[in-house]
Amino acid sequence: MKEKTAIQEFVKGLWDENPVLVSLLGLCPTLAVTVSAINGLAMGLAATFVLVCSAFLVSLLRKAIPNQVRIAAYIVIIATFVTIADRFLAAFTPDISKALGPFIPLIIVNCIILGRMEAFASKNGIGRSLLDALGMGLGFTMTLLVLSSIREILGSGTWFGMDVMWGSFSPWSVMILPPGAFLALGCLIAGANWINNRRKA
């Protein structure tokens, strides 16, 4: 495989290897919290924080951690950062913490994070790992933001809590219910496939 430049390491997470749309990782939080744009954004940023911090530490310790217990070690590191993020949200932004509720702890088992640790941070230097994590995190946040915007606008007629639809618009409640999450994500993935197919062709 050709060595990538630093920029490419960063950019790949945004589209080419977008964790949600292309690799289909981290779908649980993607579907669960995207009922409103602010929730999607907060979840994306929290996951990015955990991803970047864990990538830094794992890449720093990659030679010290014995191969047999690497997964256990990663999980402990990730769980620690998740607890930090969780407590900070609860202490400083109680409203968001209330809304994201049970999904912050599930960042621990977000396959994106463990996946990047295993596939990238454990094999690469600190600089590259950080860029990779940042790219992946932003790609994740962006996808969440797009999906949650679609769902909030169609489902509640608002965007970040502001009214954006015309007065007689009747919100499609189903979009903020569980089925809407699946439908919206299905269409989003199909859209991404369509664009990629067009680019290749």
Binding site: L25, V76, V82, T83, C111, L177, P179, F182, A190, N193
Partner: protein, 190 residues
């Protein structure tokens, strides 16, 4: 009565996959064949019940008395990871056929957020030990149900001409959406 409500709630109304979005990765990944979907579901149910019991004991007899609630996440995920390992070793020793059926799915369960979600939810809802047990069983059965239904539909889909962009994950999501709509009907049960 109360236990029955918890069971139905976990299995159907608040179905882990279709309403709580827990365990989506295996739901998308291992739902191509009914056989493997069923095995995966059973393996997950098995681990869920055991994990629910062990995490309940650890939370109520270790974390709470020593005021270590902040270690909840770290402790739970470590317990689940080691449990999966133990269960794998145990099944391999005890029953070869069972290991052949479930074996390859077990390692995947570690990162199945449904297990951690189950443990955390049980604590959040302040369930008693027996309630936690029933909750774990209900969640596992609900997970299996969703997985098997999905696999059944996807087996049929192989014969269908799907637009290119929708092939694979996209159509799976759309079907899951329809299933979730159907499962919402169960809300009237309680």
């Amino acid at each position: 009565m109360n236990l029955l409500v918890i069971f139905i709630g976990a299995a159907l109304i608040n179905n882990f996959v279709l309403s709580q979005f827990l365990g989506i990765c295996p739901f998308v990944g291992v739902s191509k064949k009914v056989d493997s979907a069923f095995s995966m579901g059973m393996a997950t149910t098995f681990v869920m019940v055991i994990a629910a019991m062990v995490t309940w004991l650890v939370y109520h007899f270790i974390l709470l008395p020593f005021k270590l609630e902040i270690l909840e996440y770290v402790a739970f995920i470590l317990i689940i990871a080691s449990l999966v390992q133990l269960v794998e070793m145990f099944i391999r020793k005890v029953s070869k056929p069972l290991y052949d059926a479930l074996g390859i799915f077990l390692p995947l369960i570690t990162t199945n957020c449904a297990i951690l979600g189950l443990a955390l939810n049980a604590v959040l809802n302040e369930y008693s030990f027996s309630q936690t047990l029933v909750y774990g069983l209900g969640a596992g059965i609900g997970f299996t149900l969703a997985l098997v239904i999905m696999a059944g539909i996807r087996e049929e889909l192989e014969l269908v001409d799907i637009p290119r962009s929708f092939q694979g994950a996209a159509i799976t999501m759309i079907i899951a959406g329809s299933l979730a709509l159907a499962f919402m009907g169960f809300a009237g049960l309680i």
